[in-house]
């Protein structure tokens, strides 16, 4: 019985010492931090097991708050924790922005565009572009090396048989990796609702475009005239869409003599804009 009392007393003593110590330390060494980090840290399991690859829960919380880690970065917490963190992050960052997807603005694949040489080197567009500007007749169009497909973290792109990249829009997250990688800058991020695109980026005069590509924009200005919303303008030998004005009315698609303008199925006309 005596021993039990000693146990009681010593554990009690230990408890007091430690808790007082912690309380004092917490006050004395308090550091101001992002509130979200605190909240996320509370939402996290707090096990500090390191399974996430970060140095403890706090590190992960900081990383999530800074956007360096995904909200589901904690493998231990599972979905519950992830959704909670998503809530915390969501309330702080406001409404979700419109979803953007990548669009490839070139239609000139193997069948439509000419080659000026036989390329023999690493299959990477950026390298092709350095080596004498690549093997493609058109110096503005897609080089077909598939670098965009390679860099896509979500497997949302693939190369079709015609040697052109295709975006799988359901998988695309609009991260912009492909946009960054493309040496020809033919990939852009566009709001997913827009279903009409001028798939050419050639600034060469129409005559030269015709020599190297069957489907390149020849700057005939028919689309510009046709568009009821002034969404299309031709500058530097190239027709370009101002997506802010475009209502996906598809009038331009029909008039393009070289079929550079392409419409996508399942993206209806945007009525609201028309009214405004």
């Amino acid at each position: 019985m005596y021993n039990s009392l000693v146990a009681l007393a010593s554990m009690g003593g230990l408890g007091i010492v430690l808790s007082v110590g912690l309380v004092i330390a917490a006050k004395k060494f308090a550091v101001q931090v992002d509130e979200r980090i605190e909240e996320i840290e509370i939402a996290l399991p707090g096990v500090n097991c390191g399974a996430c690859g970060f140095a403890g829960c706090r590190s992960l919380a900081e990383a999530i708050a800074e956007g360096k880690a995904p909200v589901n970065g904690c493998p231990v917490g599972g979905i519950d924790v992830a959704s909670k963190i998503a809530e915390i992050m969501g309330t702080a960052s406001g409404n979700a922005p419109e979803r953007k997807v990548a669009q490839v603005l070139c239609k000139g694949g193997c069948a439509e565009a000419t080659q000026r040489a036989e390329y023999d080197g690493p299959n990477d567009c950026r390298i092709m572009n350095i080596i004498q500007g690549g093997d493609k007749g058109c110096t503005y169009g897609c080089l077909g090396g598939g670098t965009c497909v390679e860099v896509c973290p979500f497997n949302a792109m693939y190369m079709n048989e015609n040697g052109l990249p295709v975006v799988i829009e359901e998988k695309c997250t609009g991260c912009g990796k492909c946009v960054e990688a493309c040496p020809r800058d033919i990939i852009i991020l566009v709001g997913e609702e827009y279903g009409v695109h001028i798939r050419c980026r050639s600034f060469a005069p129409g005559k030269e475009v015709r020599q190297v590509c069957k489907v390149g924009c020849i700057a005939c200005r028919r689309c510009e005239k046709e568009c009821p919303y002034d969404a299309i303008t031709v500058t530097n030998n190239l027709a370009q869409i101002d997506y802010d004005k475009c209502t996906v009315c598809r009038k331009c698609v029909a008039v393009c003599p070289v079929h550079t303008i392409e419409e996508q199925e399942g993206k209806p006309e945007i009525k609201a804009k028309k009214a405004g």
Binding site: L14, V31, G50, A55, G56
Partner: protein, 190 residues
Amino acid sequence: MEYLLLFIGTVIVNNFVLVQFLGICPFLGVSKQVSTSVGMGIATTFVMVMAALASWLIEHFILVPLDLVYLRTLSFILVIAALVQLVEMFLHKSIPGLYRAMGIFLPLITTNCAVLGLSLNAVLRSYNLGESLVYGFGAGVGFTLALILMAGIREELEFADIPKPLKGAAIALITAGLLSLAFSGFAGMI
């Protein structure tokens, strides 16, 4: 000389991670980058020496005199947890530079079973204070060594075309196995 042998023995022969299976979670979790693993290793070594000291004091001034050995696990883990938290808070406030380099790893160390294992082992082997400290330091260095070696290999593996089912933890475990195999050459040396 004895201390040196104890140190070498703890670092390579009875490596905490690769031979004794202590601290596997952080070993697998934080060994993705060499730079991170260096910080983690140093922080762990620091905590281990502190834990060796603290647990020796508790054992010899509280638990044994008061006949409370059954409170060993409980008191050790509590003290380690509190110690780590105090050090972390102190660093965060007072030495932010050191905190960024090393302190961020501190919370991870509380639940590192290598630290508690170290405290318990040191007591079970009835090490004296000096031996406990060397043992703690050696264990930390051994942990760091394993961590850095693993991180070096894993950084290389990032570029390798590893079969899909093996990616991630599976290949890390196999690598750890081969690393452990390499260390087994020292078995029985000291």
